[in-house]
């Protein structure tokens, strides 16, 4: 009896929610819980494994341990306020969450973002990709025993977090991209800090590569492990580095350009092997591309408004309110009630570090989202885990989890 069958049966027997493992001693196989508290399940992912020796016969992810009802929470917020909720979903890519949500709301509103706002969003989005991949690099190194990788990755991530704090006031959960633009302009001296980051990073990425890329043990652990074919990638809806490592040549930034990606030039790394090593290579190449993108954005950063100044959407500047009655009225309306969004629905997607991160927004014409659904790439990608892990060893499973790079905040929402 496979785990899937037994699980379905026990749930049927005991009612939904009563997830009980069944164990048949005659099977000679070990059923073991990996997680929700385990050093390498990246949060609170729980995997029910059926093992024969160390070979994984079956792997069933159980999710929901980090469920915080963020999507539902959005329905109680104003359109502007929901940004602070969605940013907490995929907590390693907060800018991308906000961006997808804001793009969807802007679609419904028919709202234009001024060029500077778009560039700032793109800048933060690419820096966010780098800082997220740094966490992936560190944790996957740690998972496979290369402990130093973890410290190097987090050391560099600290530079990014400092920059985020400088720009948004917070290290995580920024609430920075809002419908209509960004919350505030880039601060004085951002160029120097940003420039120091992008000039450090290429050398540091070289360092990472010299640590792992040709390390024989690393190659043995990753090559030919957790293979996903292109067809499987399409079938599972896997996007992002996992899909591209499997030969699925699909990157929203290039194929459905949003913000200013159409004006920037960059490569999309694609590999065909679909194993853990290919994902490693794709992510490493992506980090280099992101550095290039940040440089381009810095060069092209235009002057002007950083958010749409439509008084019906954006609170007026403080200076206006001292001399304009309309400004005071708008401010009062926006603070007490918020703005309304025309009834309808919209979907907007961005390329997050983990793949296609889309927000599906339904409005009933009120001041709060009627429904805010987020297509989180971690959630979609995670379902391919079992197919990649089956038949491998426990150590391979760890490598596969690390290479999928799931963020449980995004999975459970």
């Amino acid at each position: 009896m496979s785990i899937a069958e037994s699980v379905i049966r026990t749930i049927e027997d005991k009612g939904a929610g009563a997830f009980v493992e069944s164990y048949d001693p005659a099977e000679q196989n070990m059923i073991i819980n990996m997680g929700p508290v385990h050093p390498s399940t990246h949060g609170v992912l729980r995997l029910v494994l059926e093992l024969s020796g160390e070979t994984v016969l079956d792997c069933r992810p159980v999710i929901g341990y980090l469920h915080t009802g963020i999507e539902k929470e959005c329905e109680d917020q104003t359109w502007r306020g929901a940004v602070t909720a969605v940013t907490r979903m995929d907590y390693l890519a907060p800018f991308h969450n906000e961006q997808a949500y804001s793009l969807a709301v802007e679609k419904l509103l028919g709202l234009e973002v001024p060029p500077r706002g778009k560039y700032i969003r793109t800048l933060m989005s690419e820096l966010g990709r780098l800082s997220s991949h740094l966490v992936w690099f560190g944790t996957s190194g740690l998972d496979m025993g290369a402990m130093s990788a973890m410290f190097y990755g987090f050391r560099e991530r600290e530079l990014f977090l400092d920059f985020y704090e400088m720009v948004t006031g917070l290290r995580m959960n920024h609430g920075f991209n809002i419908p209509g633009g960004v919350w505030q302009d880039l601060p004085e001296g951002w160029e120097e800090v940003c420039d120091s980051i992008v000039s450090i990073m290429p050398g540091r990425i070289d360092d990472y590569e010299s640590l792992l890329t040709e390390n024989p043990i690393w190659l043995e652990r990753t090559k030919g492990v957790g293979i996903m074919s292109t067809e499987d990638a399409v079938r599972f809806g896997a996007t992002g580095p996992i899909g591209r490592a499997a030969g699925l040549d699909w990157d929203l930034r290039r194929d459905m350009p949003y913000e200013v990606y159409g004006e920037l030039s960059f490569d999309v790394p694609v590999a065909s092997e679909g194993d853990v090593y290919a994902r490693y290579q794709v992510r490493m190449a992506e980090m280099r591309e992101s550095v290039k993108l940040v440089r381009q954005v810095m060069e092209k950063m235009p002057e002007g408004d950083y958010k749409n100044m439509d008084p019906k959407i954006m609170p007026p500047p403080r200076s206006e309110m001292n001399r304009s009655m309309e400004a005071v009225i708008h401010h009062f309306k926006l603070v007490t009630q918020g703005y309304t969004v025309p009834a309808g629905d919209a979907y907007a997607a961005v390329e997050s570090p983990r793949g296609e991160l889309g927000a599906y927004i339904v409005s009933d014409g009120g001041t709060a989202p009627y429904r805010c659904h987020v297509r989180d790439p971690s959630f979609i990608n995670l379902q391919s885990l079992a197919s990649m892990a089956k038949g491998g060893l426990v150590a391979d499973l760890i490598a596969v989890i690390a290479s999928v790079d799931p963020v449980m905040g995004g999975v459970d929402r």
């Binding site: 093992l51 160390e54 030039s265 092997e273």
Partner: protein, 407 residues
């Protein structure tokens, strides 16, 4: 008093004192080695490391030990009571016992009594060392089994396979040493490495090589020059024996939580911890003894009895550093690849090297040079074989499709 002394014998008292001194020194060494590792690895990972207790955080390990000592003595419900209690002891005691045959210096004279700076100069010292290493397995296997839990069991299974496999290559790698030194006694092995390589006539008549080979007069006659393949095998197997990275599979944190000692806490865990670090020091000390001339080194006129100890300590520290360095650098091997390396590479290589040594050993005075040449060839072949794994041959680089940007 002297009657009692006659009855039990001076030798007994000397042995007792030596045992106590070695034991105390080992515990102190462990504390220092843990601190050393944490400091070194912190430096490699751009961190500070322990810095709170004592100068440079030297007392951190002591503080940790005291904390562990006062923790609740917890035993899981499903655990086998006696085996569970026995396992940590079995993991630590053989590692400490192994030090009985490690010579840390020459002979000290107290009046008439001559005291060798070695726990016990057994004529089967190497065999004793191997035997103690094998006993170590029981601690880990019992811990894995007796915990009555699944992750420790997996760790126990892993370590059974790992330790037994690498025990073989470890033993085989020491055979050439015995062949060259003509003894199994660790003291005699060290004595066989005294002096310098000496006059080498092998290259006489060849212009440049003749000059170079005259330098051999200044090179210490350590076995490492002629026995480096054996050393490579010994050291790789030694790392596997100690369950250290990159062979730390039995306690692979990211896979098996903590492996065989998942269910252990408090002082029992401390014993495992202690055992591991004592084992690291033991393997380092044995590597020094067997391949790097033990206490051999220049002896200066003042405090002449101290210099051997200093040389021995310095060499051992160098090896402990190597252990730490590997841990900071290497990812962990996978279980099946570990077996592949042990059985299909190290053991055949060790057997082959025994053969080479046995053949060359019959040659005359230049055997050191000949072995060095053979060793270089052998390492090349070994490196080629290991790198020649078909799984590594296809290096891929991601293809790129360029975005239609304007820039």
């Amino acid at each position: 008093m002297s009657a009692i002394l006659d009855f039990i014998g001076v030798g007994f008292i000397v042995a007792l004192v030596k045992a106590l001194v070695v034991f105390a020194a080992l515990l102190l060494t462990t504390i220092l080695v843990v601190w050393f590792e944490r400091k070194v690895i912190a430096d490699m990972q751009s961190r500070v490391g322990p810095s709170r207790w004592g100068p440079f955080g030297l007392l951190q390990t002591l503080a940790d030990g005291i904390k562990l000592f006062f923790k609740e003595d917890f035993r899981p419900q499903g655990a086998d009571k006696w085996a569970y209690a026995l396992a940590p002891v079995l993991a630590m005691v053989p590692a400490i016992l192994g030090f009985a045959v490690v010579p840390v210096g020459g002979v000290l004279g107290f009046g008439d009594t001559k005291v060798g700076l070695v726990g016990s100069d057994l004529n089967v010292g190497i065999l004793y060392f191997l035997a103690m290493g094998s006993l170590n397995v029981y601690g880990i296997v019992l811990a894995g089994w007796a915990s009555g839990s699944k992750y420790p069991l997996l760790g126990g299974i892993r370590s059974t396979a790992q330790l037994i496999s690498y025990e073989t290559s470890l033993g085989l790698s020491l055979v050439p040493i015995a062949l060259v030194a003509g003894s199994l006694s660790t003291v005699q092995i060290v004595q066989a490495q005294a002096g310098t390589v000496g006059n080498v006539t092998f290259f006489d008549g060849i212009p440049i090589l003749e000059q170079v080979s005259s330098l051999f007069k200044f090179i210490p006659n350590w076995f490492i020059w002629s026995q480096w393949p054996a050393f490579a095998i010994f050291f790789i197997s030694g790392i596997a024996e100690t369950n250290r990275a990159p062979f730390d599979l039995p306690e692979a944190e990211s896979e098996l939580v903590a492996g065989y000692h998942t269910e252990y806490s408090g002082i029992r865990f401390a014993l495992f911890f202690l055992g591991e670090y004592v084992h690291v020091v033991l393997i380092s000390a044995m590597a020094v003894t067997l391949f790097f001339g033990g206490w051999d080194g220049p002896i200066f006129p003042f405090l002449s009895w101290l210099w051997p100890l200093i040389w021995f300590t310095l060499k051992t520290i160098a090896f402990v550093y190597l252990f730490v360095w590997l841990r900071a650098t290497m990812p962990r091997l996978r279980y099946d690849r570990l077996m592949w390396l042990g059985w299909k590479r190290l053991i055949p290589a060790a057997l082959l090297w025994i053969m080479v040594t046995a053949v060359v050993n019959t040659a005359g005075i230049d055997r050191g040079v000949r072995l060095a040449v053979f060793g270089a060839l052998f390492l090349l072949v070994l490196g080629f074989v290991i790198r020649g794994d078909p799984r590594q041959k296809t290096a891929v680089s991601p293809q790129r499709r360029v975005s239609s940007g304007t820039a």
